[in-house]
């Protein structure tokens, strides 16, 4: 059998997905046995022109991580779509927008203002901001265009498979690579490397009726390690999150943050999480309900932490962002 032609790419991402690939440890040698790597910016020195020179459909599988934040991300997404037989949205950012997608609560101007001027750690007396074009004696330099909104990979090009996780857990990555090598793939459009139930099904904590009088943050409260976190008032996204990660966070006594995305049949993960949390508030008195619910800090950011660009509203709806 001919070796699998594999490409890995990162767009708007933190690099954690690439580390997840390396975390398969010594099995990485088996990847090299199974596959020829044609592009992997984090580890190997290939140029875009090498990809441009390939015939269309030359790459068998491309694992694409990161969201589409700027014109370079978009350009390479289109290029790799054309050159790849199978394109996999790898990790939460490519799949749903991920953490970079939270910027969709703000406009491009607000993001640049915050980063280049307002944060406590910014020292920028000259008020330098990135420009798309700048003329220097040696010629004109260009930077990619920073878009108004973060998009998911499938909002830009057709995606064949989605592999969720921030990052995807190592064993799932390996299982998917093996499935690809064996040509043993589900129908296009499927989520791979995850389960078909909610995380609560996988979670081993004791679960009882949920009644919440007080919401708590793990920054100031150490949860009991045996009992359901939500029952303790800690917002755990298990009810609205796809299983498949092995409940790693929950086993470490940390609440699920929702990185595996919505379970099958759910279109908007944040709305489902909102629904689950609000309905277990233990009061029928409007004033008390308001008091309890006001304890939830940044509810939209919490419920849509990884899925904002793929959600029904995509992000904030203000004139400035339109």
């Amino acid at each position: 059998m001919a070796k699998l032609k594999l490409a890995l790419y990162w767009a708007a991402a933190c690099g954690g997905c690439d580390v997840a690939v390396l975390d398969i440890n010594e099995r990485i040698l088996k990847v090299a046995e199974l596959a020829d790597l044609l592009l992997w910016p984090v580890a190997l020195d290939f140029k875009y022109r090498h990809v441009e020179a390939m015939p269309d459909g030359h790459i068998d599988v491309c694992l694409f991580n990161g969201a589409v934040r700027n014109s370079e991300n978009e350009h390479v997404a289109r290029l790799l779509r054309k050159k790849s037989k199978v394109l996999v949205a790898f990790g939460s950012c490519a799949y749903m927008g991920g953490i970079p997608g939270l910027a969709n609560f703000f406009s491009r101007r607000e993001v640049l203002q915050h980063v280049y001027s307002d944060t406590a750690s910014t020292v920028n007396p000259g008020g330098t901001v990135p420009l798309e074009k700048v003329r220097i004696p040696a010629g004109e330099l260009e930077l990619p265009t920073f878009f108004q909104r973060v998009r998911t990979l499938d909002q830009v090009v057709l995606v064949d498979y989605y592999l969720p996780g921030c990052p995807p857990v190592v064993d799932q990555v390996w299982a998917v690579i093996e499935a690809i090598a064996a040509g043993n793939l589900p129908p296009p459009g499927s989520v791979v490397g995850a389960s078909d139930s909610a995380l609560c099904d996988e979670c081993e904590r004791k679960k009882d009726e949920k009644k919440i009088k007080q919401f708590r943050s793990v920054a100031t409260y150490r949860p009991d390690p045996e009992t359901c976190l939500l029952e303790q008032g800690v917002i755990c996204c298990g009810p609205a999150t796809r299983a498949g990660c092995g409940a790693k966070c929950v086993k470490a006594n940390m609440p699920c943050r929702g990185c595996y995305g919505p379970p099958p049949g759910v279109t908007d993960q944040g709305a489902k999480m909102l629904s689950a949390v609000a309905s277990v508030v233990d009061s029928d008195d409007p004033a008390e309900v308001e008091r309890i619910i006001s304890q939830i800090q940044d509810p939209a950011g919490t419920f849509y932490r990884f899925s904002l660009p793929s959600s029904l509203l995509n992000g904030a709806h203000r004139k400035e962002i339109a």
Partner: protein, 136 residues
């Protein structure tokens, strides 16, 4: 052409839908801007429905159920109230103006009240303008 808001009204079967029906049989004149969807209980209203309506072109969403204590299923309207309290905060972060999404209690005998809620909501959303215009 002047802007006419499209409002999706999600009404519970037992009180609010009957209230809206009464507004009709009593021949009360009110704004024709609401498109009514009947559900069995306001407790059935998943926040996803509200977002779907806004995404699909609605300028506002009215959720209406039985008054507290009157729910046909005992507690459905309390669930709706809790979800609405949290949904309001989430919508605020999304930049959706509070007047666009409302939860109201309308009993089966409150045809007048239903009509005045729809009129008031229509006026307020007409002043805000279309929701889609503020969409990216």
């Amino acid at each position: 052409m002047t802007f006419e808001p499209k409002i999706v009204g999600i009404l519970c079967n037992w009180c609010s839908y009957t209230g809206a029906d009464l507004a009709g049989t009593a021949r009360i004149t009110y704004a024709p801007n609401v498109r009514i969807v009947r559900v069995m209980c306001s407790g059935r209203v998943d926040p996803t429905f509200v977002l779907h309506a806004l995404r699909g072109g609605a300028d506002g969403v009215l959720i209406a159920g039985c008054h507290p204590g009157d729910c046909h299923y005992q507690a459905g309207n309390y669930k709706a109230m809790r979800r609405y309290e949290l949904l309001k905060r989430v919508l605020d972060q999304f930049g959706v103006e509070p007047a666009r999404v409302r939860l109201e209690w309308v009993s089966a005998s409150e045809g007048e009240r239903f009509a005045s809620i729809v009129n008031d909501m229509t006026d307020k959303i007409r002043a805000l303008g279309p929701f889609k215009e503020a969409q990216g």
